[in-house]
Symmetry: C2
Subunit: 177 residues, 2 copies
DNA sequence: GATATCATGTAAAAGGTTACATGATTGG
DNA sequence: CCAATCATGTAACCTTTTACATGATATC
């Protein structure tokens, strides 16, 4: 529902191609939203039709041409309106928990293996986020202040990932017991 | 994507009506998945067509008739197969974080108000979950052991909500500063 | 020679939300 | 008398995923 607004917010920070937006979603600062490339390209088309964004074509040598999108004045107005509206709480839809809940129908080994797989992924994500955090702390005080709001979304990622890992370790102990 | 499996897992524990499943999703033990009643009724239809569940009609006096669904042998097999397959990690799609990220386009008061609204909701959820946890601890040791896996999903909720609230308080301090 | 990265899209299917629809009982 | 709870569903719409599609350069 809010992919549109996620794209607008990212484009408000700086003009970007669809491909680059995808990278932002998959990497650190886009921690708060997920999207596949197909969906991003579709939404860029829709946002363009609504004149909330515009693009210029950038030719590149040795690489495919790039469409660089930027937010329009109309887009900024739409974004500001949205920012004033109350936001629905994020939803937890975690299939791993379904598996744990029904874990008596499978083996403990299966559950432990699955948990270990997920722990590995979450540890990778966490260390990525911690690296970005480190970089942030090397910035000058004014810059830190400038980026304090995006930094908070990074902090959400870090706190969230740590909590996830705490739970997973607890879960492993309970299952093995 | 996994609403089907969430329903199967719940029905494996005990037969249930669509209405009752909805309640489970909205309350504690269904912490791990969200669904509206329309979607549940739709999926119950689909699962019935695939013969993974079946239902009996229960007449009630003073209340509408109830369709009580239970999982079939075929359904249990399908569920066991799914439990053996690797599960994708849960996704974070949190519109509040989009709002924080682009918060420089709006006022601090707006951000603080929004955070407070969300804090209230999360505190309510947390206290609900803590109540269920309390009940769990009053059970006999054998019963506790029997429910240890569903209990882990409850723990995930508690740990997740606490982490969320920790972050929100940090966020308020940063924004007010 | 294989894999990753860059860079874009269309189309069909599945999943999820919103709007509409009904109607009785119970509790404040 | 109003709101909540019980109990079920259809239809239209929007969002997301999966499958299909292309093709160059850079790195191991």
């Amino acid at each position: 529902m809010s992919l549109k607004h996620a794209i607008l917010v990212l484009l408000e920070t700086e003009p970007s191609s669809g491909y680059n937006l995808l990278k932002q979603f998959n990497e650190g600062l886009g921690y708060f939203w997920n999207a596949k490339h197909q969906q991003i390209y579709q939404q860029l088309k829709v946002l363009s039709e609504h004149r909330l964004i515009s693009h210029t074509l950038e030719e590149q040598t040795g690489k495919p041409d790039k469409k660089v999108y930027k937010i329009t004045d109309l887009g900024i107005e739409a974004l500001k309106d949205w920012l004033l509206s109350p936001i629905n709480p994020g939803k937890v839809n975690d299939a791993l928990l379904i598996k744990i809940y029904g874990g008596h129908l499978t083996s403990d080994e299966n559950l432990i293996e699955e948990l270990d797989r997920h722990i590995e992924m979450h540890e990778k994500t966490l260390s990525k986020l911690l690296n970005i955090e480190k970089t942030y702390h090397t910035l000058q005080t004014e810059k830190q202040d400038e980026y304090k709001l995006p930094f908070l979304t990074l902090r959400r990622g870090i706190i969230g990932e740590r909590a996830w890992l705490d739970w997973a370790n607890e879960a492993k102990l309970v299952i093995k017991k």
